[in-house]
Symmetry: C2
Subunit: 425 residues, 2 copies
């Protein structure tokens, strides 16, 4: 980088970073509850947020509209109208009692980057689109990635009949929001319209912080397998059943949890396993647990790796159950394939990171993102921004303004240097 | 035993056993709920049961009255009025959805034994008292052994102010039952009135069944220490926090449960440890548990043994917490000392068992019993009767009529051969 370029980059970053943080805070003020941040799909506040985002898009020189599922869609034309686009985006719904950065950081950064290009009159041989996905978290209707699935043309119309906890169907909620549920198909895009999909997002984990890096290049969005386990032994009096005559379902579960942890710890290639939910019955201090329900969540950077780990873990915990004379039932309750970030696109992200003066560090995304749906119509890449303590889905979620700057500079650099996929890439 | 005696014993046992099972079934029909057995302290059904028990006592040649806490007190005078007594007894309250044998078997067997002696006109140089303790289980007011504590003079008057789940105080409930809460002190007996306290009870465990024995001699009522543990780590996203950066409170708890089980299994001298309650927070499939609450129940045949085990286990789980960078808080929530059965009295129980033709087998009681309170005013012994599968506190609780016979014959033999403690015993 020339000295002049360094100075320009620094000035831009400072401006962009401050603008982004200011907008993050304005958007976070739009909440269903005054004391914490909750902005659920198709709520009145969700609509207010969509309108604010569209205002910012128009200010950034984009056309903006809501599509039929409630995605906020901005388009910044290229050197001539109607060119295929580089699509940027993230989601603008939140979990309950959320942090303000999960979703909005990527969306607002993209808008601010376009605004910067617009101020400088930059146009490219491709359009730029910015999509604010309406529902990534899936809090209201227990079905995630609704916005990006609509764009990818994989929206399942059956979920329109599902109802929220108040008994309102998704169909009714869309109408209340001002949308036509019979036109969701119109939100779908086709592969020829998209050159790539790139999403910037907070890491939601502690790796970049541990490495001392503001940004990272995502290698893949890790797939996940979730299992529900039910382990049955024999309940009994805590005082009267000798240890050797027990069939203690919780002691068996404890051995299984320890085994799962050990297998993941010794894997050394990114496998993570979590038992997050456990319920021991009858659950009294003085009764040996006769049955335990628990969950297992397994993720790895590739599907092969994860599937092998699932097989291995199932085999090992079945052996524990057999040895302890416990009856084990296992059900797969959820399975997401791994979405690898495309090498040609990931290389351009890495070049942008390096051009901004940061070490290039690759890490997988353990959390799910809209790219998991977008991969059906576009090559996908992601940029991670460091968040404090790895904390997410919590009011303490935090990004330093300098790191928001860094993310914006990398994204801007990526856009300015973007080259569509070449034959053979 | 002469041949005549054998024949007489067999005829008595058959008669007694059938009478006992018939009365067990009649008493079990007195329940607050029609489909299961629930007879809680001071409920209307508890009162109906008390009246039935007093009828049986009077039929057996005893005087009978309710004391101020609701204990059913029967007295069969000795060769002359006012002699010190051999006290027999057990409780007539139940847990919710109870079995019919836990408590009533000992009480009804004692009444039937006295009835048999009365039919035969037998009087001894001591009186026999049969006490049906009003509340051993402690279901209603979360305070156990209320009946036997009143008799032992150790009733804590402060519990009169405690309230049940409907908001009724124990004081109010006693008045509704027809008792005067200000006279509970009058229920107290003194040591000089009692020669011994002997209780027959179902084992509530699987040991006699595993040994193929209908009856056993209790060596001691094992003391218990209960601990409440709170283990705090750091919650996090199941996908984004690498294994080596986790402070998973549930993985830590699992290691602790496995360690507790291992220490008890390798003890080889009757130590039992149970983690019966566990609660992991936040408890979501895709969130690493940040905090876990769990309980530890530890019992051993002697206080020294149990206290050493508590120290050992605390030390070991503290080490696990430290290594995993988890914060451990441990509170002792309950502690009962071990009540050894007095050798002189236990010897007489063993002699009665042998005289009835059974192998003498000693085992500790892991469950608590009214003897734990009675020990403050009397030497204590217990006779265990086999129950099917070791199941108790459950509708499947079951005793074969032949085993009820066996228990009655042993108790009757003990009474007939009873010799008060001699100097030097």
């Amino acid at each position: 980088m020339s000295e002049k370029n360094v100075a320009t980059a620094a000035r831009q970053a400072s401006t962009l970073g401050e603008e982004i943080v200011s907008r993050i805070n304005r958007l976070a003020a739009i909440s269903e509850t005054p004391d914490n941040l909750t902005r659920i799909f198709l709520s009145p506040e969700h609509r207010v947020a969509a309108d604010l985002l569209m205002t910012w898009m128009v200010d950034a020189g984009m056309s903006a509209h809501l599509d039929a599922i409630g995605n906020v869609c901005g388009r910044y034309e290229g050197e001539r109208p109607g060119l295929p686009c580089l699509m940027l985006g993230s989601h603008y719904d939140t979990v309950r009692d959320a942090g303000r950065w999960d979703g909005p950081l990527g969306l607002i950064t993209a808008i601010s980057c376009v605004a910067d290009l617009h101020r400088r009159g930059r146009r490219f041989p491709f359009a730029i689109e910015v999509t604010g996905f309406a529902d990534e978290e899936g809090v209201r209707f227990a079905s995630t990635l609704l916005g990006s699935r609509a764009v990818a043309g994989t929206f399942n119309e059956r979920v329109l009949a599902s109802r929220d906890s108040a008994g309102i169907s998704m169909r009714e909620a869309l109408v209340q929001f001002g949308l036509d549920p019979d036109h969701i198909g119109a939100a779908a895009r086709v592969r020829s319209e998209l050159l790539a999909y790139v999403e910037l997002h907070i890491e939601q984990g502690p790796v970049l912080e541990a490495k001392g890096l503001p940004v990272g290049v995502v290698s893949a969005i890790a797939g996940a397998t979730r299992l529900a386990a039910r382990l049955t032994g024999m309940a009994g009096h805590a005082g009267t059943v000798p240890m050797e005559l027990r069939r203690d379902a919780l002691a068996g579960t404890a051995e299984m949890i320890t085994k799962i942890e050990e297998l993941c710890l010794t894997d050394g290639r990114g496998l993570v396993g979590t038992v997050g939910y456990i319920h021991a019955m009858p659950g009294a201090t003085n009764v040996i647990p006769g049955q335990v329900h628990f969950t297992i969540d397994l993720r790895a950077p590739t599907d092969t790796h994860r599937n092998r780990a699932v097989t291995d873990i199932v085999r090992q915990i079945e052996a524990i159950a057999k040895r302890r004379k416990l009856e084990l039932r296992l059900d797969v309750t959820h399975e997401n394939r791994t979405v690898p970030c495309e090498p040609w696109l990931k290389t351009q992200v890495a070049e942008a990171v390096a051009a901004e003066g940061y070490p290039v560090f690759e890490l997988p995304s353990g959390a799910g993102h809209d790219g998991m749906a977008m991969v059906d119509i576009a090559d996908v890449a992601m940029i991670f921004v460091r968040c404090r303590g790895g904390i997410s889905h919590h009011p303490d979620e935090h990004v330093e303004v300098g790191d928001a700057d860094a993310g914006a500079r990398v994204l801007l650099r990526l856009i300015e240097n973007f080259r569509p996929r070449q034959a053979g890439e």
